[in-house]
Every structure is written in structure tokens, then in C-alpha cells.
Subunit: 288 residues, 2 copies
């Protein structure tokens, strides 16, 4: 497994792979890997060619007062996990190389980046689209793998790839959950035992939304209210948002369809967690 | 010469060239070609591989009230000129394909896009960086050729390529001038005989700036004032800006260096023209 820290060196590696006819899959991460990331690596490995995992805690996607400084990092552990998976290369650039002092270019995707996480974190998606554009140019992948846990990020990146005509297929991996249903996230490490239990309320709320839809409740507003009642009943938790959206444009839907998405974000202690659930399971392809 | 109008078809063409090991040079244009564009095509041809010329009057780089609707177009003449040059392919997409109805993504480069043309045309460079990003993704070129006439555009695009890590070499072609010194521009077609004569005042002003520098005047402010006096003496012309800038960051310089750039923009009749001149000729490489 090649461990590469310099942009130029990474680009040279990519050129070599390209010259020998290899396809490239990339799994962009912020490190502190969990089973969600690893499932994306396995998807990429199964698709063949070379898999590159990027590990970069991207400063531009954190707002002022967010958890950039304390975001969990453990490079040794990450590399060990990736070695066991047979990854071809890991790219760990420095913030200084990705954003040199005279850096001034940003990629901004409106549409699906508005509202929800985009409302709570106004510069977040701009940071994501900017760093992923850089990674796409450096790595020239045929395929890029993202987790459905970050559903709005997926909608934004698919929109960016369509709009800017990146010659890259975006592939989405299903949410990986703990046995009790909590969506895996590097940020779960912030949770105390008490937080951990309270955090489950979000998944329960989303599951209730799905059950109510199955029972015939197709009003986005009423589903949202019902889900909010669930999170409100958990005093240890503060809801950020709960809603039902079109999974492509991320606009709230009035009349809910099976392919729509139940979404939510909550604060638990010092931690902000997100989750989502298909209104109807498995009606939407992970590849399009 | 392949004439391609669909994004997908163009991407297929590029994949085929790549698969057979061909390098690609791209000359992005808005059509209505003149000797300036053709000189860039010749630079690309000399570098080998395939040359693709794009002809697209990009709506997002025109502001409200600018000359988008009347911008000169003559596809047949353009194609004839390119055929004679031995160009591999011409890409003529429609605005609808480049910007479909739900289009929401923009690439924005601060720094060198601020001031000068960026002050007069606030959304211009955002349109340029956005469409060139699209073209770069569609065409996957090794090299891209731009004319030094649009010096600020060159600075902006080089900054974008650096910041976003496009694996593309930007090559700049020298300004091609009419025998009397007027910088070639598709917009020169707007000029009446009287306009045409008056328009020369800009190049005369820039030449005076160079002469004064050679004679020892190294103050950016005094050089600017001297050049402004030249344009002010021509009643048929209204200056937009005149200045001396660092060619990379496009900030005005106080103490002028040989590698700085004398720049200007004027209105002549209904037409806005730009031009620029190295403070000292040929100290700056066209390739870097």
C-alpha cells in the first residue's frame, strides 16, 4: 500500500496507473475510519482497478466554532485498517498543500446545498465541493464512493458532478449501523454512554416516519410533525432539523413518494449527529 | 475534422483518443475566430497530439446589458478556418447542454479576478472559470491555450488551475495585433471606421507607459496618470481603467518591475476593448 502525502507525488502515481491502463476508484474520507468507510472501500475493490483512499480533515468544510480542532484523528489505526483491506494507495495531504496561503478558489453548488445541513452550516457544502473537486483533479478517478449517511452531501456532489461534467461515476454505499441502529460516524466517539443511548432517538423518529408512511400517511408535514414529537420526548437531545425531502434536489416534499428521504439532525451533548432513511426501502439504485 | 455538438459524444471522442495514447490540447474560444485564435491553434498543433477547439459563446460570462445577444457569430467561417489548420475536432455545445434548467454550480476564483475587468463586469470571471472547468472536465486536455490579450483572464485561470489542482498545463499565446497595433478581438467587428481610428489610443497609451518606464519612471501611480492623459486626449473614447499590475495576482503595483503589466480598457462607441503590454518586453515565459 503506497502512502502518499504530496500532491505532485500523488499525481505522478495516478499518471503511472493511467499509463498502464488501470482504472481508479477513490474513497474520500476525513479518517478515523469505521465500518461505513470500509464498506465503501470494499465496494471499490469489488469494482476492480486501483482503490485510493484519501484521509484529509478538510478545514474549509468546518464553520467557525465547529469541531475542526478536536475532530478525531488516528492515522496509524486508519492505515492498519486499510492495509488489511488491500487498498492500493492512501493519500494524506497537508492542509498547507491543499490550501496554500494565496488560495482563493471555491466551487459552490446551490440547489441541494440549501437548507437542512446547509442552513445550520452555511459554508459546509462549499468546503466539501471545493475539496472534492481538488481530489477529483489530483486522482482522476473513474469512480468515487460516498456514504448515504451524508445524504445531502451525496445530493450536492451528484449535482456538482452533473453540472461541471466531471467524467466520474458517483457510487453511494448504504448506511452502516451499529447493532442498536445508530448510524456509524467518526463523531460517535464524542458520545458519553448517556449521550449514546439518547442519540438513538433520531433513528427511532425516522423509523416511525417510515412506519406511518407504510400505514398510509403521505403528508410531508404530518410525517415531519410526528417525527419531531419523538425527538422532543428525549430531553437529552436537541433537534436541529427533521424533514422529508426529494433525494435529488433536497427540497421538502408535501406529498411524499416512496423514493423520498426522511432526514434528521440532532445535537446530543457537544455533538451534532445526522441520519436518514428511505421512505420505502430499496427503491432507489445506489448507482445511477 | 470532427464536428461535435453533444457533451456525451465529445466525452466519448476524448476517451477514444486517451485509449489510443493521444495527448490533447484545447483552445477554448467564443468563435468568430481571428488570427489570435489561430495562433493558439498553431501553438497547440506544434505541441503534438490532438487539438480540440471549442466554440461556445458562454452566456454566464456576460452581465445584464452586455453584448451576449449581438456577440458576432459565424460558424461556417470558423469551421472553414479550422479545417485549413488541420484541427482534430471542434466542439460546439448548446447553452442548454452546458447549462440545463436545474444548473446551480459555479467555480469562483477571488484574488486576481478582483478589480479591473472584475470591477466593471462583476460576474464575468465567475462565468469564465465555470465554463472552463466544464470544458476541462469534458475534454481532459494535457494543455490549454489562452491569449495574453485577456491578461486578467489568464491570471484568473492560472490561479484556478493551481488552486483546484487541474492536471493541465496553461499555455499563453502572445497578443496578435493588426498592422497599426490594434489588438485583435472578435469585438473589433463592432467598430466603425471612426471608432477604429480612435480605438488605437489605448495601445498608444500602453506604449507610452513602456517608454516612460524605459526612461526611468518606476512609479505605478505616475505611469498610470501619464497613460490616462493619453486616453483622455481622445474625445471619441471613454476609459474604463488604466493601470500597472503584478501579472500573477493582478494587484496594482506602486514600484513597477520589468515583469509587471500595463493594462487598459476603453469604451469606443458601443464597444468595450481591452489591451495590455509587458512593462519590459519578453521577460516572462509563456509556459510555466
Amino acid at each position: 500500500m503506497d502512502i502518499i502525502r504530496q500532491v505532485n507525488e500523488m499525481m505522478r502515481w495516478v499518471r503511472e496507473q493511467r499509463a498502464s491502463g488501470e482504472e481508479i476508484g477513490v474513497v474520500p474520507t476525513m479518517g478515523y475510519l469505521h465500518e461505513g468507510h470500509l464498506s465503501l472501500c470494499r465496494l471499490s475493490s469489488a469494482d476492480g482497478g486501483r482503490t485510493v483512499v484519501t484521509v484529509f480533515v478538510n478545514p474549509t468544510q468546518f464553520g467557525a466554532g465547529e469541531d475542526l480542532a478536536r475532530y478525531p484523528r488516528d492515522e496509524e489505526r486508519d492505515l492498519k485498517m486499510l492495509r488489511e483491506l488491500g487498498i492500493s494507495a492512501v493519500f494524506l495531504p497537508t492542509p498547507e498543500e491543499m490550501y496554500p496561503p494565496d488560495y482563493v478558489t471555491y466551487v459552490e453548488t446551490g440547489g441541494p446545498s440549501q437548507g437542512w445541513c446547509g442552513a445550520t452550516r452555511p459554508t459546509h457544502f462549499r468546503g466539501v465541493t471545493t475539496v472534492i473537486s481538488q481530489m477529483f483533479h489530483i486522482l482522476q478517478p473513474n469512480r468515487a464512493y460516498f456514504g448515504q449517511k451524508d445524504a445531502q452531501q451525496v445530493a450536492v456532489l451528484k449535482q456538482m458532478v452533473r453540472d461541471l461534467k466531471f467524467p466520474i461515476q458517483v457510487i453511494v454505499g448504504e448506511i452502516v449501523r451499529e447493532p442498536d441502529g445508530l448510524a456509524m460516524s467518526s463523531r460517535n466517539t464524542y458520545l458519553t454512554a448517556e449521550d449514546r443511548k439518547a442519540a438513538l432517538v433520531l433513528f427511532r423518529a425516522l423509523q416511525l416516519g417510515r412506519d406511518l408512511y407504510k400505514q398510509g400517511e403521505h403528508s410531508g408535514e404530518r410525517l415531519t410533525k410526528a417525527m419531531l414529537r419523538v425527538t422532543a420526548a428525549e430531553p437529552h437531545v436537541r433537534p436541529d432539523y427533521i424533514g422529508v425531502v426529494n433525494r435529488r434536489c433536497f427540497r421538502a416534499v408535501e406529498e411524499v413518494s416512496p423514493e423520498d428521504l426522511l432526514i434528521g439532525a440532532i445535537y446530543v451533548g457537544s455533538c451534532r449527529l445526522i441520519d436518514n432513511l428511505d421512505v420505502s426501502p430499496q427503491v432507489y439504485p445506489l448507482r445511477d
